[in-house]
């Protein structure tokens, strides 16, 4: 019969139309600004810099090694190294980025900076409502805008952040154990040579150690 195919198709449409009133499966849209679907944990869009503790300037994990700057495919990262040093999370003095800019109008959210970072300092954010009137300045994020706390990282990517914290804690423990062993060796040496002890005590105490993050 001519028109049978059309009628079959129309029946399908009618089924979906009527079904949209009863079945959530058939009504998949949401009214966006008012209604929002739950974010997916693995989501990424733009990078941010993680810091530990309260003060973002003191706690920044980035040591300005410039690997991400070199590996970034669209070259949207700009880093200037500092002249002085500050202690990192294990207490080792490290240089820090005096300037760290990301032009998110150029960034293509590929996550390669995160993959190559050996210091777990740069991670991907999930914010997406970034519309701004200032096309250039508003999309060029500097250090102060990029720095976000480890607690924030834990709220957006809990699983990944916990893994990172575990890794950092392990590394810190290793460094501390090494420092302790070195200190003990130095003490033993000092005891063996009491004559020289008056001169210069071996340096035993590492600089103030910072907490590794909010997970512990």
């Amino acid at each position: 019969m001519l028109g049978e195919g059309i009628l079959k198709g129309l029946a399908e449409t009618a089924k979906n139309f009527a079904g949209s009133y009863v079945s959530k499966e058939r009504l998949t849209t949401v009214q966006y600004p008012e209604e929002r679907i739950a974010p997916i944990e693995a989501t990424r869009d733009f990078p941010f810099l993680v810091y530990d503790g309260e003060d973002w300037q003191a706690g920044l994990r980035c040591v300005a090694c410039q690997i991400c700057e070199k590996e970034c495919p669209p070259k949207c990262i700009y880093i200037e190294k500092s002249k002085d040093k500050k202690p990192d999370y294990v207490g080792k003095p490290q240089i820090y980025p005096a300037r760290f800019d990301i032009d998110i109008s150029v960034c293509m959210s590929c996550q390669i900076c995160v993959e190559v970072c050996p210091f777990e300092a740069i991670k991907m954010d999930t914010v997406f409502e970034l519309a701004t009137e200032d096309r250039f300045g508003g999309l060029l994020l500097d250090r102060s805008k990029l720095a976000k706390s480890n607690e924030y990282y834990h709220t957006i990517h809990p699983t990944e952040a916990a893994e990172v914290d575990a890794r950092l804690a392990e590394e810190k423990a290793k460094v501390e154990a090494k420092a302790r062993a070195a200190a003990e060796a130095a003490a033993a040496k000092a005891a063996a040579a009491p004559a020289a002890a008056a001169g210069a005590p071996a340096k035993t105490e590492p600089p103030a150690v910072k907490p590794a993050g909010g997970a512990e």
Binding site: L2, G3, E4, G5, I6, K8, G9, A11, E12, T13, N16, T28, I40, E41, A42, T43, R44, I67, E71, C72, P73, M108, S109, C110, Q111, I112, E115, V116, M124
Partner: protein, 395 residues
């Protein structure tokens, strides 16, 4: 048919040139030909693409595809970047199917560097690759029907299904379309068991979607009248032009790289290669629906068999990756046809030569052969049935 001698040089203007066309006299028939530029901003061209057509009334007498509007220097950029840095750019070739682009590029580099891929990573690649094929075919059929004038309903059904698959991609890779998931020697992140369960759930719902879609469209008389016998691509033309993918198989030529090359682990799965008979728009439309069903079969098998283990070759390097000097061509059966990457290495951190063999571009070259003698409205359908993405055509 137009005599080649009646090209621009011979054609003379008659009266006032129209805004977008001009009149050319065809000395053979004595009728006036109207030259129209379809595109580059035309909704049917699926991007920025122009067809310079010469019309005899409604009939196409000449068609010249003009592309390059979306040229982004992809291949030259690839020569200036490290191997890894080109990976996110491949997402942007065929932006509907970023994961298969990743796969083809990873395959080429792995061949170049002689890297092994762990078992689990191969399975994950097959799963995401076939999910990509499902969503691409659903979408391309949806858009074809949209080009036909059914604005909305079938396309939205396709989008509804695609949305579920994109959510899966986002949960695994972090991004819906620009996945950047594969690495040389494996995949970037491992899939959790919850993710695999989620995939099983979506895959279990896919046959119902296919049924629904076929019920909605396949026997529709208007669709049949518009597509059957339109835009016939003869197998010998298709083969000599190097057409691959669904467009070739719709013409009755059995050539599927998953079967021919048996790359990755496709030799472990049982699936058929659907073949068309007439090579018209309807066959190209049907072949996608049939392939979608075969992809579901592969997905079911892969999800059943997926083993545990690592997803990255432990010897793989992320930084300072320098494959030894040599050349390699890696190709896969992308949803649109044969997608190949040809790389030459001189031992440095970036390729000496980087070349993409995009299926959309090659499939587009026979557009004139398919369109001659048809009406303007059919050109829109024929172009839609070739299934192109301009990101890949222009690179």
């Amino acid at each position: 048919m137009t005599n080649p001698a009646t090209e621009y040089a011979v054609g003379q203007r008659v009266g006032d040139a129209r805004l977008d066309g001009r009149m050319v006299v065809d000395p053979d028939s004595g009728t006036d030909l109207l030259e129209v530029a379809m595109g580059p901003h035309h909704p049917s061209t699926h991007g920025v693409f122009r067809m310079d057509v010469a019309l005899d009334g409604e009939r196409i007498t000449r068609l010249k595809p003009v592309f390059g509007y979306l040229h982004r220097n992809h291949e030259k950029l690839g020569e200036g970047h490290t191997y890894l840095a080109s990976m996110p750019y491949t997402d942007r070739l065929d932006y509907i199917c970023s994961l298969t682009n990743n796969w083809a590029y990873a395959l080429a580099v792995e061949k170049l560097a002689g890297q092994e891929v762990p078992e689990r990573a191969e399975y994950l690649r097959v799963i995401v690759g076939e999910l990509t094929r499902v969503q691409n075919h659903a979408l391309s059929v949806g858009f074809l029907i949209q080009d036909m004038g059914a604005s909305g309903t079938p396309l939205m059904y396709a989008f509804r299904e695609r949305e579920k698959i994109l959510d899966l991609f986002e949960a695994l890779t972090g991004s819906r379309m620009m996945c950047n998931y594969m690495r040389f020697g494996g995949c970037r992140v491992d899939a959790t068991s919850e993710w695999l369960d989620e995939v099983r759930k979506v895959v279990a719902g896919l046959p119902q979607f296919a049924d629904e879609f076929e019920q909605l469209l396949c026997t529709n008389e208007i669709l049949m009248a518009r597509t059957q016998g339109v835009g016939v691509l003869r197998p010998e033309v298709a083969v000599s032009a190097g057409v691959t993918g669904p467009a070739l198989r719709a013409s009755g030529v059995i050539y599927d790289i998953r079967k021919v090359d048996r790359y990755s682990i496709y030799d472990r799965f049982k699936f058929k290669v659907p073949l068309g008979e007439h090579g018209d728009v309807y066959d190209r439309f049907m072949i996608r629906l049939l392939e979608l069903r075969e992809s579901i079969k592969i997905l079911e098998q892969a999800l059943k068999e997926i083993p545990g283990g690592p997803v990255m070759d432990p010897k793989a390097k992320i930084r300072n990756f320098r494959p030894k000097a040599g050349e390699a061509y890696g190709r896969i059966e992308a949803p649109k046809g044969e997608l190949g990457f040809y790389l030459i290495s001189d031992g440095g951190p970036n390729p000496y030569r980087y070349r993409v063999r995009p299926p959309s571009f090659v499939n587009l070259t026979i557009l004139e052969d398919m369109c001659l003698g048809h009406n303007v409205a059919d050109v829109v359908l024929i172009l839609g049935s070739v299934d192109i993405v301009l990101g890949e055509v222009d690179r």
